[in-house]
């Protein structure tokens, strides 16, 4: 209850500062529209914004799901095999040195102008944090548990399944929480580079036509959706993966 009150208070302060800035500087509305105008545009263009939000939402969720699955499997593979660790880990680190932004045009070329290239972009953005967080957790399994399992006659595969993976799930959850915040960034980058749908496309379009109010409306929707996605992932992780901690 107190947290909700704090959030409302913070919002009111932010809106007041925003409006105050506009009154104080007299900045024209096509440079920085006021909160009232943005709210009005948000309402009048709700169908348009909702349509594009849905497209971006699908990209984000699909990228998140695929990234979580691929990242999870990679982490398990790396943790299970020292050979894989030696071969793949340097490649993983090197891949992080390549700015994903720079890949976006190539992804559009490879996976098309539609939803596919954005899903792949999202996947690329979240793959490393998910893999890294889960892998570290798998490697940190207390040695005493592993020794106990060995003494009980367990094979490495069963130790992975019954001890290391359950013990590493809270780490996987940390990766997913990070991924929930990063995933929309991936989708938006993909849409900026080339798209005809989605919030990123809508923001570029509105900006180009000096409809700054629409751009801000789309931006606010994007931010709110990201916060909601993070909260949902956090809740889901608490209910399932974190019970191991």
């Amino acid at each position: 209850m107190r947290r909700a009150a704090n959030a409302v208070a913070a919002t009111i302060v932010a809106l007041a500062v925003w409006q105050g800035l506009i009154i104080a500087t007299g900045v024209p509305r096509f440079i920085l529209p006021g909160p009232a105008l943005v709210a009005e545009t948000l309402w009048t263009s709700r169908a348009l914004i909702a349509h594009h939000t849905m497209i971006t939402g699908i990209e984000v969720l699909a990228g998140l799901a695929l990234g979580a699955i691929l990242g999870g499997l990679t982490a398990i593979g790396l943790a299970a095999s020292p050979i894989a660790r030696n071969l793949v880990r340097p490649m993983l680190i090197f891949s992080q040195a390549v700015p994903v932004f720079a890949l976006a045009p190539i992804l559009t070329l490879w996976f098309g102008y539609g939803i596919g290239s954005k899903v792949v972009m999202t996947l690329l953005v979240i793959y490393f944090p998910v893999t890294s967080a889960f892998f570290d957790a798998l490697m940190r399994t207390p040695q005493a548990w592993i020794d106990m399992a060995r003494l009980m006659g367990a094979s490495p595969a069963r130790i992975m399944r019954h001890i290391r993976i359950p013990a590493g799930l809270p780490g996987f959850a940390s990766g997913l929480r990070l991924a929930a915040v990063y995933a929309p960034i991936g989708a938006i980058i993909g849409e900026w580079v080339g798209a005809s749908k989605g919030l990123g496309y809508l923001m570029l379009l509105a900006n180009g036509r000096a409809k700054t109010d629409l751009m801000f409306a789309a931006l606010i929707v994007l931010a709110v959706c990201t916060v909601l996605l993070h909260a949902a992932v956090d809740r889901a992780c608490r209910a399932t993966l974190d019970r191991n901690a």
């Binding site: 005493a144 548990w145 106990m148 399992a149 003494l151 009980m152 367990a154 019954h162 019970r243 191991n244």
Partner: protein
């Protein structure tokens, strides 16, 4: 079940550095042997060597069971940390070994063991909901579930308060009566109560220590046991 003895003779080294002079450890079949000594002298390493999980240490010499059959698969280890998996219920922790081997979990036997250690009402609980003594009894049930004739105990009771410790000691002594037990402990009173044989390991090597009369577990207030406990503590303190 006839439990074999353990015979270990030779030099132990950790990462190439010799641990103690050549030692000869002879644990009698079907009885309880206590191993005492200063911290860091290698008592736990000896247990891990016997258990076959001491990747960090090497033994140059002999390690064998008294009946000539291999030790592998016949040894269980119970440590100071109960090692209960926090995401499993008490019952699932007790049957963990079977699942790790892909074998039948024998739920009836597990339930009977939980009954014996007095945890039957807590079978569905998570370890975090148990007290320290209850957790150690759950670990005991898990160890018994493995049904290994040789049981190695590495200070399993040291984290418990005095009253709980005495109770869990009695229970463990009763349930492990047919097993060959080698217990590492820091506690002279525990050794004096439970040991059929007492050994002291220090920088000079491994040496036997006289055991008080009477069958273990000896009463906590038995005069001879208390006397032995005092003498044992004095010997441990006198060590360099």
């Amino acid at each position: 079940m006839s439990a074999p003895g353990i015979f270990l003779q030779g030099h132990v080294a950790i990462g190439g550095a010799p641990l103690v002079p050549q030692i000869t450890l002879d644990v009698a079949p079907g009885s309880w042997t206590c191993l005492l000594g200063p911290s860091g002298v290698g008592k736990s390493t000896l247990l891990r060597l016997i258990a076959g999980i001491a990747d960090e240490a090497t033994l140059t010499g002999t390690l064998a069971a008294s009946d000539g059959a291999p030790l592998r698969g016949r040894v269980a280890l119970m440590a100071q940390s109960d090692l209960l998996l926090p995401w499993l219920s008490v019952l699932d922790n007790v049957t963990l070994g079977a699942r790790l081997r892909g074998a039948d979990t024998q739920p009836e036997r597990a339930t009977a063991l939980l009954e014996q250690v007095g945890l039957i009402d807590h079978a569905a609980k998570r370890p975090a909901q148990l007290s320290g003594g209850q957790r150690q009894r759950a670990a005991l049930a898990r160890t018994l579930m493995e049904d290994r004739p040789i049981v190695l105990l590495d200070e399993p009771f040291s984290a418990l308060d005095a009253r709980t410790r005495a109770q869990v000691q009695d229970l463990t002594a009763q349930l492990l009566s047919n097993h060959t037990v080698l217990m590492v402990t820091h506690d002279p009173s525990e050794a004096a109560r439970l040991g059929k044989a007492i050994l002291i390991l220090n920088e000079r090597g491994l040496a036997p220590w006289p055991v008080p009369p009477g069958a273990p577990p000896r009463p906590v207030d038995d005069a001879k046991t208390l006397e032995a406990q005092g003498a044992l503590l004095a010997a441990l303190r006198a060590a360099p």
